[in-house]
Amino acid sequence: MKRKNSNKSDEQLYAMLFGSPAEKEIGFTELYRRHSQRIYQYSRRICGDDSMASDVLQETFLRFLNMSEYKSEMSNVAAFLLRIARNLCIDARKKQSHTISLDDMEIPTHDTSLESKELRHLLVAALEALPDDHKEAIILQAYNGMSYQEIGEATNVPVSTVRNWVVRGKRKLREILATYIQELEQ
C-alpha cells in the first residue's frame, strides 16, 4: 500500500484529497511525507527559530489542506507548499525582531564536536548575516534542491537575478568563513 502510494505523483495524491475520508488521509499523509522536511528546513533557516519553523510547517499544511477544498487542480504541489511557507515566513520575520537564535550562536568547542559540525554552526550563523534574498536563494538551492529556474518561479524573479543572489551569497559566506577554513587547512 505504501509503495503503491509512493509511486503516485503529487498531482494524483492531491486528487485523492477530494475522495473519501480514507483516501484523503492517505493522500495528505503521503504529500506530508514527501514535502514536510523541505518545508521545515526552509522555514527553520529562514525564520532562524525551531518553534517558529514548527508553527510555519503546521500552518502551511493545514492551509494546504483547507485550500484543497476550494482548489480542485494543482500543477505543482511543492511550489504551492513553498509559496504558503514563504509567505508565512515573511509574516513571521516581520513580527520577529532581528535576532539570531541561541542555537545558531552556539560557540564551537573542540572537545567533542567534529570540525565539520563547527563549520556547520559557523555557516548557519554566517547565513544570518546575508541579505534576506541572498539567504533565501541559497537555502532554496542547497536545502530544497531547487534549480535556479525553480527558485526564480517560486520567488517571481528572473533566473539571472537568482544566479546573482546565489553567487554573491556564497562569496560572502566564503569571506566570512575564510579564516576558519584556513585554520582547518593548517
Binding site: M1, K2, N5, S20, P21, A22, E23, E25, I26, F28, T29, Y32, R33, S36, Q37, Y40, Q41, R44, R45, D50, S54, L57, Q58, F61, L62, L65, S116, L119, R120, L123, V124, I138, Q141, A142, Y143, S147, Y148, R163, V166, V167, K170, R171, L173, R174, L177, A178, I181
Partner: protein, 425 residues
C-alpha cells in the same frame, strides 16, 4: 570566472561553461582554492540540511488538527474497509456508553428506592419544607439550642411515653411556637405536660391502639396545623411522636434540629452521582473525524455535604481526547490515544439563595491527575431536586490535562455540556 565556480558546484553550468572553467582551473591556484571552498560550503549546507528534522511533536500536532492518524502509527493509511470497521466501532461506542450511563443511573435510583423505602413516609413533607425554617432554628441563641439538647424531660419521654394527651400537647406546642413564644419554651412546656400525665407504663397494645387513633386524626386535622407552623421544616416525628414506630422518633429530636441535611438516620449525607459530558470543543482542535464525535466521557463521583451549601468528595472518569505518546521520540513509535482517564477530589458550592423552583445553581472545581500529569476541571450548572434524594443536573464543564512530551509540557483542554444524575442516601 569565479562565478562559474559556484555555478559548477550547483550544477547550473552549460557544457561550454564547464570547458571554460576546467581550462581556467588548470593554471589558477586561487581558482582551485575557491572551488574547494565552494564545494566545502555546499557540502556543509547539505549536512546542515540533513540535520534538520521535523520534530515529531510538530507532525503529531498537524495530524491531530487535520483529524488524521499519525504517519507510521497503527491507525495510519487504513483501507476503506478498515475505516468502515472503525466507524462501526465508534457507532457502537456511541450507543453502548450512553446505555451504560442510563443503566448506571437506573442502578443508583434502584439503590435509592431500596435503601430509602423503610423511612420514606415523611420524606415528601420534609422535602417540601423550605430552608428558611431551618435558618430560623439556626438563628436561635446557642443557649436556647443547648436547652433543647440538654432538656432532661425530652430524655424522659424516651422511656415514659404518653398517649392520652399527646395529640393535644403537640398541637398546643405548635400553636405556641407559631405565636412566637420560642422553641425552648414550647418544648419545655410540652415535656412538662407530658411528665404530669405519666401514670405508669402502659401495655404495648394500649399504646399501639392510641397511636393508631391519633395517627388517623392527624391525617385529617393536624397536618395543616403543623404545616402552618414555623417548625414545619422539622421532621414531624421530632415534635410529634412517630406513632407508627413508637418512641424512636423522640431519639432523633435533637439530632434533627442540629443538622441541615439530616436524613433521619444520622451520619453525614452521602451522595453518589454519575455524569456524562458531550464535548463541544477541544483544544488543540480535533479534526472532523469519527474519533472527534466519540461519546467517551463519563464520570462517577461520591461526596459528602460538609455544610448546607458545600460538598467535597472524590470523582473519576474517562474523557475522549486525542493525543499522541511517543517512544524514543519517533513518529514510527507514536501511539494515538483517544481517551484519557482521570481522577481527583472535588469541592462543590451550591447557591441556595438563588434556588428557584427547586433548581439550584452550583459550581464545582476538581483537582486531580492522570497517568500523564495533573488535571483540573470546572463545571457550573443547575441542579433540579426532583425529590429529596434524587436530583438531575445540567451545565457546562471545562477540563484541562497536562502531559509531557520530551521535556516540554503540553495541555489538552475541552469544554462541553454536562449532565448528571445524583442520588443522596
Amino acid at each position: 570566472m569565479s562565478e562559474l565556480v559556484y555555478l559548477f558546484v550547483d550544477g547550473e553550468t552549460t557544457h561550454m561553461q564547464k570547458e571554460m572553467l576546467f581550462a581556467a582551473l588548470a593554471d589558477n591556484s586561487d581558482l582551485q582554492q575557491e572551488l574547494q571552498e565552494a564545494i566545502l560550503i555546499r557540502s556543509t549546507l547539505e549536512q546542515d540540511c540533513s540535520a534538520l528534522a521535523v520534530p515529531p511533536e510538530t507532525t503529531a500536532a498537524i495530524f491531530q488538527k487535520a483529524g488524521f492518524a499519525l504517519p507510521g502509527s497503527a491507525a495510519a493509511g487504513k483501507l476503506s474497509a478498515a475505516s468502515l470497521i472503525e466507524s462501526v466501532g465508534m457507532t457502537l461506542k456511541s450507543v453502548v456508553l450512553p446505555t451504560l450511563f442510563v443503566m448506571g443511573g437506573a442502578v443508583l435510583a434502584t439503590m435509592y428506592f431500596m435503601l430509602d423505602s423503610s423511612s420514606s413516609q415523611m420524606s415528601d413533607r420534609e422535602f417540601a419544607a423550605p430552608n428558611a425554617s431551618r435558618e430560623q432554628y439556626s438563628a436561635l441563641p446557642s443557649a436556647e439550642k443547648g436547652a433543647l439538647f440538654g432538656n432532661p424531660a425530652i430524655g424522659e419521654t424516651k422511656r415514659l411515653f404518653i398517649g392520652k394527651d399527646k395529640r393535644r400537647q403537640t398541637r398546643m406546642s405548635s400553636e405556641r411556637i407559631s405565636s412566637g413564644r420560642g422553641i425552648t419554651a414550647a418544648v419545655q412546656e410540652q415535656s412538662s405536660e407530658m411528665s404530669e400525665n405519666m401514670f405508669g407504663v402502659r401495655t404495648a397494645r394500649e399504646i399501639r391502639s392510641e397511636n393508631e387513633d391519633v395517627q388517623f386524626q392527624m391525617q385529617s386535622n393536624d397536618v395543616s396545623a403543623i404545616s402552618a407552623s414555623p417548625l414545619q421544616h422539622i421532621k414531624a416525628e421530632s415534635i410529634l411522636p412517630k406513632f407508627s414506630s413508637g418512641m424512636n422518633s423522640i431519639d432523633n429530636f435533637p439530632y434533627v434540629l442540629s443538622t441541615s441535611y439530616d436524613d433521619g438516620n444520622g451520619g453525614m449525607p452521602i451522595a453518589i452521582s454519575i455524569r456524562g459530558l458531550m464535548n463541544m470543543s477541544a483544544f488543540p482542535q480535533q479534526g472532523n473525524s469519527a474519533l472527534g464525535s466519540e461519546f467517551n466521557n463519563i464520570a462517577l463521583s461520591i461526596g459528602a455535604d460538609i455544610s448546607e451549601e458545600m460538598r467535597i468528595g472524590i470523582e473519576g472518569g474517562r474523557q475522549s481526547l486525542r493525543y499522541y505518546t511517543f517512544e524514543n521520540g519517533k513518529n514510527e513509535n507514536a501511539v494515538l490515544n483517544t481517551s484519557i482517564d482521570w481522577a481527583g477530589v472535588f469541592c462543590r458550592q451550591s447557591f441556595q439563595s438563588l434556588t428557584y423552583s427547586q433548581c439550584t445553581p452550583y459550581a464545582q472545581v476538581t483537582l486531580g491527575g492522570t497517568v500523564s500529569g495533573p488535571s483540573g476541571r470546572f463545571l457550573a450548572g443547575v441542579r433540579w431536586q426532583t425529590s429529596r434524594n434524587f436530583s438531575l443536573s445540567a451545565g457546562l464543564e471545562g477540563s484541562a490535562f497536562l502531559y509531557q512530551k520530551s521535556t516540554n509540557w503540553h495541555s489538552l483542554r475541552s469544554i462541553g455540556l454536562m449532565y448528571d444524575v445524583e442520588v443522596k442516601f
